[in-house]
Symmetry: C2
DNA sequence: TTCTTTTTTTCGAGGCTCGAAAAAATGAGC
DNA sequence: GCTCATTTTTTCGAGCCTCGAAAAAAAGAA
């Protein structure tokens, strides 16, 4: 907060706060909103009637579980699903999926396209994104946002994809391209960050201020929530857990460097090791889930190269988590993705490695949760990102006149 | 911002904002404050006259560099040095220093005590802190805060020291003890975090939102600024860069584990290696600066064990920075402390190691700044932490009546 | 039908920031 | 030395916003 608060801003923020409360809570009454926000009943009443009149919120009669108490019954409030729609895109290896979501977060329609991401030109990828949006939104009244999740590194501003294992091209400006095509704000974000956003949304009890989402699949991705905010770096989406160095001058990584965690724990690394190949052998782009499952089955049967491969993967992950914990303290970890299918093999070794690190002092206390399918998380993360963006940037401020206002100039105040 | 804004809060925050602007800028006029904060002249005028009346601010006549323009001359404003004083404590190996600072941040008095921290009992350490404060504040009107910097791990709440290499005792509750003794708020913080705070204060151009302060000395400490905020973990001060794993099952660290960065880059590690000792030999608590300087001189003369020791230290630091950059993106780095005396030897090797990592893609662009003496930074960081704490928590809110106000209850709104 | 209880709305009070205008304080020009 | 121009600071009324208290609304209980 480096800038002064003016009067209109107070209203805007309190409006946004009410919207956020309604989105979070399950059809709260005005009284409950007052309790959640700390604002007075009168204020909530005023803001609510504004929002209802503007078609952002609506009354939903008595809440389901009407407690049939005495007194005047509470009137449940909910966001108006027709207030807006948003489009979520998800680009991953050989696949591009689109989802249309209403203002309440309910899925209206979905569509998936298969394409050869490694072979497509830069322009073909951009075109594919545009036509996926066009197809899902076809004939429907205008959507207000696009949230685009990509498997790869994005820039911190959420404008483009900087690098991805799914295509040889870099710096693909999906943001500007889609904005030009549809005239709505677009955010481009790392898929793992969307997973983290979804986890927080689904289970704020467990995933609140500091937690880690690890995506175990061909590569190793991470979404990091610090102090309740998705962590991104100065330039990029950052959080490249998979490319922290596990063993200096170690195994060859997909990124071309050596010794990265991913070079031990990615699918290709496990496959390479289990098949007795050299650690310097060029990584394979895509190893099928079935093949990994077969390796896991072999490993479960007893010691051998497969078992050793998973052991090394677990060690890399465990030590990496330990180093991360040294930096940010132990925090809940969610493991997501196909790689979690072998988590029964990995877990003991991960814990053993973690226990050797400073961050893993209480390795037994660290709890892992696993989810084999990352796709629903990515989709929900995109949806909630786009919708809460609308809440705070569009419907909170509203479009009342006189919203100009001054901005403080350079040399901002540092607190 | 999970809670609604009420009217009085708006004033409080704008007041605090004005105070912050005056602290930041060099004796700004009301007009300049308006520009910096984005608030209107009328508001600044009103707030300024309040603050002056309350003895928090004062007019300082014309600013030094009076530009002698036409019009009514600006009236420079400054914080009233007599508005408050704060005490800064700094506990490190065998040393406890205290500084009394006025509300403008000027040092009023300093004092240093030598003590055998490794030998003292828990209570003796607590007593030493209390008497250091008593001595520095003796006879002077009451100070309003104590900021305590310790070499070691503190808890995230800033209440106590959890662990430190300077004493065998753990969980020493300096915060409660000092608060009980003096009845003022106390914050206990990691010394490296204070270094980071000071860097930001001294050079916000370079050290603004994301940067790293590394303390190279007996051990390796880090202060991490992320998104303009000092990073602390959920439980502890975190940021234990020195205990990230450099080589699994590697050299013995002071913390009892193996392969930590510190076990290669701390003074004891360099000394151990340079003297041809085993990497598993028990670390030495304190190696004198002169001895390290001698080792560096030997290393400068040519290849040999000393040179190799510095080389391994640099590699550990470089790869560690690379892993950190993979997580948070490249950021400015400040190296502080006695260990920087050998930075001429370390730098090329650090850059070489960094260049091999994913985070060090543009290793040549990364800039390092070195400062051999960490003490002034720690002191200034403490002072600014205590003073800005006063600004926002005491003088901003003020003590006008009716400040009660409601608080939102549980189930806070998640944005 | 009346009383009790709870939710929601209404209404006036009090605060805050803002813009415009006035006041203050100086240099420039003659 | 006086007046005018220029810039800073203060004053003042308008417009919002939130708040508390009271009123209104909407039910169950008796």
């Amino acid at each position: 907060m480096t800038t002064g608060i003016r009067h209109d801003e107070m209203r805007k923020r309190n409006r946004a706060l009410v919207i956020a409360a309604v989105r979070r809570a399950d059809q709260p009454s005005r009284t409950e909103i007052a309790r959640l926000t700390g604002l007075s009943h009168s204020t909530i009443s005023a803001i609510a009637s504004d929002l209802i009149e503007e078609g952002i919120m609506r009354e939903i009669g008595q809440g389901e579980a009407a407690p049939a108490r005495r007194g005047r019954p509470q009137v449940a409030l909910g966001l108006d699903p027709e207030a807006a729609t948003v489009v979520c895109l998800h680009l991953s290896f050989n696949s591009l999926s689109a989802v249309l979501v209403d203002y309440c977060g309910r899925v209206i329609d979905t569509g998936t396209h298969h394409l050869s991401t490694l072979a497509l030109s830069r322009q073909a990828l951009l075109d594919a994104a545009v036509s996926a949006v066009r197809e899902i939104a076809c004939g429907r009244e205008g959507f207000l946002r696009i949230a685009f999740a990509v498997q790869g590194i994005t820039d911190a501003a959420g404008r483009q994809m900087l690098w991805s294992p799914i295509t040889p091209h870099s710096d693909i400006a999906f943001g500007p391209e889609l904005e030009a095509a549809f005239g709505v704000p677009v955010t481009v974000q790392n898929d793992c960050n969307m997973i983290a956003a979804a986890l927080r949304w689904r289970n704020p009890e467990r995933y609140r201020d500091n937690f880690i989402a690890l995506l175990l699949s061909q590569g190793i991705g991470m979404g990091l929530m610090l102090n309740g905010q998705l962590f991104t770096g100065t330039h990029s989406s950052a959080g490249e857990f998979g490319h922290m160095i596990h063993r200096p001058d170690g195994a060859l990584c997909r990124c071309g460097r050596r010794g990265c965690i991913e070079a031990y724990a990615g699918n290709y690394a496990i496959w390479r090791k289990a098949h007795g190949k050299s650690a310097m052998e060029k990584p394979i782009a895509d190893i099928k889930a079935g093949e990994m499952e077969a390796l896991a089955a072999t490993a479960r049967r007893g010691d051998g190269p497969a078992r050793q491969a998973f052991r090394e993967a677990a060690e890399a992950i465990g030590i990496g988590i330990g180093s991360l914990f040294a930096l940010i303290d132990p925090a809940p970890v969610a493991m997501v993705g196909q790689g979690t299918a072998a988590f029964d093999i990995l877990e003991p070794e991960i814990r053993a490695a973690l226990a050797q690190t400073a961050g893993g002092q209480h390795a037994d206390d660290v709890s892992f949760e696993t989810w084999p399918d990352e796709v629903p998380f990515i989709q929900q993360g995109c949806a909630m990102t786009a919708l809460t963006g609308l809440d705070w940037e569009v419907f909170g401020p509203g479009l009342r006149p006189g919203a100009g206002g001054r901005k403080p100039e350079d040399g901002r105040v540092v607190a």
